[in-house]
């Protein structure tokens, strides 16, 4: 410890000690208290008990009084204290070196060690988890959206087979009202889940997939291929209609690069599924399965284009009835979507007539921007001529 050098009392004490040293050396005496009688000094037992700190309190006070005035006993006490300290340290080191495995293990998990180790471990774990969470890519978000898209893809044909014979635009208002109410409930959940999904929570993926799957049967009255497709219908009446002449249509919930990648992935996946389906159908002998409808020459590059004559679904429940009636509707399937020819326009089967559309003129800047953002739409526009009404990402586009 550092003492104040300029402290006058400190300097005075040093001066006093110097004089005391000189006199003690000159006199040959080491007893500062003037008590020359050695029998008055502390005996070995008292010195030892004082140095080891085992003297009773009252006796210790008495010994301290003596030591303060007796340099000889102080000298012995100092040497004993230093020797005792050394001995204690040796004993401790011997004790540590002689510990067995279980004793060392017990010492490792002793409260004194754990008191410091546990907070350190907890802190390390928290930091580690935080790092893992921060470094985790946004893969789960993409997976979740893919599942939703898949579910809509696979659900659609099943629903189409169950479609009622009545045309979509002639659906009963009451029933539709009720179904819309149910769909609203489910769709609001869907929106919430999508919001959660947008925040990047990994757990949201499963939630989205589950909810979309659960809401599919409810939304079948809406005559939509997927439940998510009905979301645009849930827009409140006071919501502004999308402007056709305005800049590129606002994207419902995806605006970052991840959404673009997602959409590209979705369209690519859809095309891949179509291709696989074609390959399977082509590989099967026509004798067993009838005429190969997919053997139609392909005009497009990536997407399969089929032209088939189907009975008007909206006209009757079965195909034979439709044929009998002679009301045939031309339909095409492009990029996994079915289009029905209505006059000069190709109308997406998922489209409902009162729904507002975003008009996009081919070759316009808006069209190019849309095609750049949505390559799937570009493929559809390329393979279908004339006016196209397509539902894409819950939004109805009118490409003309």
């Amino acid at each position: 410890m550092k003492q104040t050098k300029n402290n006058p009392v400190d300097l005075l004490l040093r001066s006093l000690a110097k004089g005391w040293h000189k006199s003690s050396w000159q006199n040959g005496s080491v007893c500062g208290g003037g008590k020359g009688n050695f029998s008055e000094h502390l005996d070995a037992d008292e010195l030892n008990s004082y140095a080891e700190g085992v003297a009773p309190a009252a006796a210790r006070v008495r010994y301290t009084e003596h030591l303060a005035d007796c340099a000889a006993c102080r000298g012995i006490i100092v040497s004993l204290t230093q020797a005792t300290g050394t001995a204690v340290r040796d004993e401790v080191s011997d004790l540590k070196s002689g510990l067995g495995f279980f004793q060392k293990l017990a010492a490792l998990f002793s409260p004194a060690v754990l008191r410091f180790a546990v907070p350190v471990l907890v802190l390390t774990a928290v930091i580690g988890i935080s790092l893992v969470a921060l470094r985790q890519p946004r893969r789960p978000e993409l997976i979740a959206r893919n599942q939703r898209a898949d579910s809509s893809t696979y659900v659609a044909p099943a629903k189409q087979t169950e479609l009622p014979s009545a045309p979509t635009n002639q659906a009963a208002p009451a029933t539709q009202k009720g179904s819309n109410l149910a769909a609203t409930t489910n769709a609001s959940k869907e929106i919430d889940s999508l919001k959660n999904d947008k925040t990047g929570a990994g757990g949201g993926a499963g939630v989205v997939a589950t909810k979309s799957a659960a809401s599919a049967p409810v939304a079948k009255d809406a005559d939509q291929p997927g439940t998510v497709a009905g979301l645009s219908e849930l827009r409140p009446s006071y919501a502004p209609e999308p402007k056709a002449a305005a800049a590129p249509p606002p994207r419902p919930y995806l605006s970052d690069a991840g959404s673009i990648a997602l959409e590209k992935e979705q369209s690519a996946k859809r095309e891949e599924q179509e291709r696989q389906r074609d390959d399977i159908a082509r590989s099967q002998p026509s004798a067993e399965h009838g005429p190969n409808r997919s053997a139609v020459p392909r005009t497009g590059g990536l997407a399969m284009q089929r032209t088939e004559v189907l009975t008007a679904r909206r006209a009757g429940p079965s195909t034979s009835d439709k044929k009998n009636k002679g009301t045939e509707v031309e339909s095409r399937s492009v990029s996994g979507r079915r289009f029905i020819r209505e006059g000069n326009a190709w109308v997406d089967t998922a489209y409902e007539s009162p729904r507002a559309t975003v008009k996009v003129v081919r070759g316009s800047e808006q069209f190019r921007a849309l095609v750049a953002d949505e390559p799937g739409l570009g493929a559809i526009a390329q393979q279908l001529d004339g006016v196209i009404i397509v539902i894409w990402k819950n939004r109805a586009y009118r490409i003309q």
Partner: protein
């Protein structure tokens, strides 16, 4: 009185039996052989300071005695050769180590160690026919190894004092001459300045009065504080070592020393004003001047005294 004695005796008897039970090897000792030693120890450490000490305090005190060491020493005192052999075998290294620490040479250390065993056994014979050795003074309160070190140190100091009385060595005389020359340089040449003799005498008188007041103030300190001052300034110990003697941490010793400085200054000022007739401004001025004066005065000594040199290094950090 008799009512008080009887319970104490019972406590001694019970304590002796418990002590024998605690010992790993009791060397065929009985409770009766231990009771006189236990009684002497209790008288020395407990009843001397508190004659009416409760029996529970006495009982606790006995239970804290070193059972193994005390049984070994009592057995040695009773002439048990096995115990003697074990004592010598176990504690020879301790005795040699203590002797080396207390001696200036290896030969002197060996002589000292050999003389210790004779002192322990006792060259004279007591009235009961047993040797009057130092073994009779081991109480069992502290460890036997520590007690042996203390015995060695006491014997070394005793021998050293006898030698100093007989002859003052040439080395000591040289040392004194160095100190003397250093002081003369300080007084008459200082730092090469021309010194006014009247001022110098006046300063020295004032310094002498201050030192006297300081010595008186030190005596008025409490025993612990006085011991700390002696250990630090007079014995040249570091604060850590001084704290170890007092059983306190170095930081505690430092704080205590700072407090002692303030107390001493107040006490010195009071003595100078009340007993020496100084005025308050004079004491203030003297304290402010004393720093420069004593600092110049103390440095030659610091060059010669290694102990004070160590302290200076400690102050410098």
């Amino acid at each position: 009185m008799k009512q008080h004695i009887e319970p104490i005796e019972n406590v001694f008897t019970e304590g002796a039996n418990r002590l024998l039970a605690r010992a790993d090897d009791y060397y065929s000792l009985t409770g009766e052989t231990l009771i006189p030693r236990i009684r002497a120890t209790v008288d020395k450490y407990v009843l001397r300071d508190d004659p009416q000490a409760p029996t529970q305090v006495v009982r606790d005190f006995i239970d804290k005695l070193q059972a193994d060491d005390l049984c070994l020493i009592v057995a040695c005192e009773h002439g048990n050769q096995t115990a003697w052999g074990e004592l010598v075998e176990r504690f020879s290294p301790t005795v040699r180590s203590a002797a080396r620490a207390a001696s200036s040479s290896e030969e002197a250390a060996e002589d000292l160690a050999q003389s210790i065993w004779a002192e322990l056994h006792g060259l004279r014979v007591r009235e009961d026919g047993k040797p009057a050795g130092k073994l009779a003074y081991y109480s069992g309160r502290g460890s036997l190894a520590g007690w042996l070190r203390a015995v060695v140190a006491q014997l070394a100091v005793d021998q050293h004092r006898k030698q100093l009385r007989l002859v003052q060595t040439e080395e000591d005389a040289d040392f004194d001459r160095i100190i003397q020359s250093g002081q003369e340089e300080t007084i008459w040449s200082g730092h090469g300045e021309v010194v006014n003799p009247e001022q110098e005498i006046s300063k020295k008188l004032a310094g002498a009065e201050m030192e006297k007041a300081l010595a008186s103030s030190i005596q008025q300190l409490s025993a612990e504080d006085r011991l700390l001052v002696k250990l630090y300034y007079f014995d040249g110990l570091r604060l850590r070592e001084a704290g170890a003697v007092l059983g306190v941490h170095e930081a505690t010793a430092s704080r205590r020393l700072t407090r002692v400085h303030a107390e001493l200054r107040q006490q010195v000022e009071r003595i100078l004003v009340e007993e020496e007739g100084w005025t308050k401004p004079e004491t203030e001025h003297a304290f402010s001047e004393i720093g420069l004066h004593l600092e110049g005065d103390i440095e030659p000594l610091l060059r010669t005294e290694s102990i004070l040199m160590k302290k200076e290094n400690e102050i410098a950090g």
